[in-house]
Amino acid sequence: MIRLEKVTKTYGDNHTHALDHVSLNIQKGEFVFIVGDSGAGKSTLFKLLIKELQPSSGEIYVNGKRVTRLRRRKIPMLRRDIGVVFQDFRLLKDRNVYQNIAFAQRVISVPASKIRKNVAEVLTLTGISEKYRSYPDQLSGGEQQRVALARALVNKPKILLADEPTGNLDPGNSKIIMDILEEVNRRGTTVVVVTHNHEIVRHMNKRVINLKNGIVVNDIGEGGLRA
């Protein structure tokens, strides 16, 4: 589903690599954690996958598409296969929960009748149905995170990338988010989660890719072997 071959990313004329010859392979339906210190290159990896950035060298394949060679006008189709949840949520403050989620469908020309059904579905999945008319600043951090998650899921992506989905959350809320992610994975979506939270990683018992200064230092549980 996701394959990187000796991918290196250097920002500007910086001499340190944000990613340094990273090769990895994530299968369809996998649940993978990516851990590593701040600045290890985790967000950079996500940006490469959605072709927000171009690698300095190496090849990237996502869902059978050769991302590194993908034409500019094909990028939207790549991104419809990938749902992304950002560290900072990126919800639109002038719209309520329902509108924020519907927006993701609206702008890829989904018919209005389907939008209503799909939004209702992800609202239920993420457990924020009652809050659908609230505006982002009327929500708690955990609730905002769930809206961001719902928005990433509403287009039914094949891959879900979540950058620090439990970053600022207490253990209770973190657990809710992780349960949702597991449920999404159970329904067939490949899930990749960046996190600092070692407690959760230990508890979930999934594959863990450890990045350090842009290098994969270890990849525990690859190919179904769980440490």
Binding site: P76, M77, R90, L92, R106, I108, S109
Partner: protein, 302 residues
């Protein structure tokens, strides 16, 4: 683009205008000024051409012959003059025809008076050519050439200053064209600034759209609609103004000037506006399209 997406983007375009009123008004005002100038220039050019054309058709040179010239000489001259490229046609008026015309004009009320001349045509030497030209500016040249011919007693020409008219047209046209180009540049600049402001205001929204896989076209089209709407509004205002200006101009010309000279004439409202309306709308929409394309291409990248 699907129909519902079209209306969504169109609606977003209007929403953009509402968010951004001051820039909107400035853009509309300059586009309106630009389209107004174009419309004015077009009306003037169309009418000047019309007047010149009308004058052209009525401009003719009348030639009278020496008494000793025979009918065969006249027929021969007719043929020769007709071959000049400046001449569109030559009409021959025989002395009899001249007398008939004269009679009708001056003895209309008492035809019995004219009967006294029946067998002694007082206009026996009034045979003439009426020469029509292919272009008004040839008049002087043709007159000179006719005067140098033998057998010709007198050459009468029309006193028309059509060349002065067209010279005026050229100067006015050049000046307006310069103004139009400046206004065009300012309009495009202002529209692209208006749209850029809209893009900045909605940067967060655009970012999300791109992450969820909206196409470039979808992201850009609300802004393009916004530009085109501004352009069209900017075109409709001067069209309305021009309509009333033109209508009063026609009234003025008909009521005031045409009593002095029939050379003053104006094209009917419809003839001018059939051209003016599409030109203005296309110009307005075009300015909007170019202005917004500049802004979106510069500031919206995947």
């Amino acid at each position: 683009m699907k129909v519902n997406s079209f209306f969504y983007c169109l609606g977003q375009g209007f929403a953009g205008i509402k968010r951004n009123k001051v820039f909107f008004l400035a853009s509309v005002a300059t586009i309106a000024a630009c389209v107004f100038m174009v419309g004015l220039l077009m009306s003037v050019i169309l009418n000047v051409n019309y007047v010149i054309k009308e004058a052209q058709d009525s401009v003719c040179i009348t030639v009278f012959f020496e008494p000793e010239v025979t009918e065969t000489d006249i027929a021969d001259m007719n043929k020769r003059i007709n071959e000049w490229e400046e001449v569109s046609r030559v009409e021959y008026t025989s002395p009899e025809e001249a007398w008939e015309t004269f009679k009708e004009e001056y003895f209309k009320d008492n035809p019995e008076l004219a009967e006294g001349f029946a067998n002694d045509n007082p206009l026996a030497t009034s045979a003439s050519f009426t020469i029509y030209l292919t272009e008004i500016s040839y008049q002087q040249k043709v007159v000179e050439r006719l005067e140098s011919m033998t057998g010709i007693r007198q050459v009468n020409k029309s006193e028309i200053t059509a060349s002065a008219l067209s010279d005026f047209g050229k100067i006015a046209g050049g000046a307006s064209l310069a103004i139009i180009i400046v206004l065009l540049a300012v309009s495009i600049f202002l529209i692209s600034n208006t749209i850029t402001t809209g893009i900045t205001v909605r940067a967060e929204e655009i970012r999300v759209m791109k992450y969820v896989g909206a196409t470039d076209f979808f992201v850009k089209s609300p802004f393009v609609f916004e530009g085109v709407i501004i352009g069209l509004i900017g075109a409709i205002i001067p069209l309305v103004v021009l309509f009333f200006v033109y209508r009063s101009a026609i009234n003025y010309v008909v009521e005031q000037l045409q009593t002095f000279s029939s050379a003053f004439a104006m094209l009917p409202l419809k003839t001018v506006f059939v051209l003016l309306i599409p030109v203005s709308l296309i110009l307005g929409a075009g300015i909007g399209l170019i202005g917004s394309s500049i802004a979106t291409n510069k500031y919206i990248k995947v």
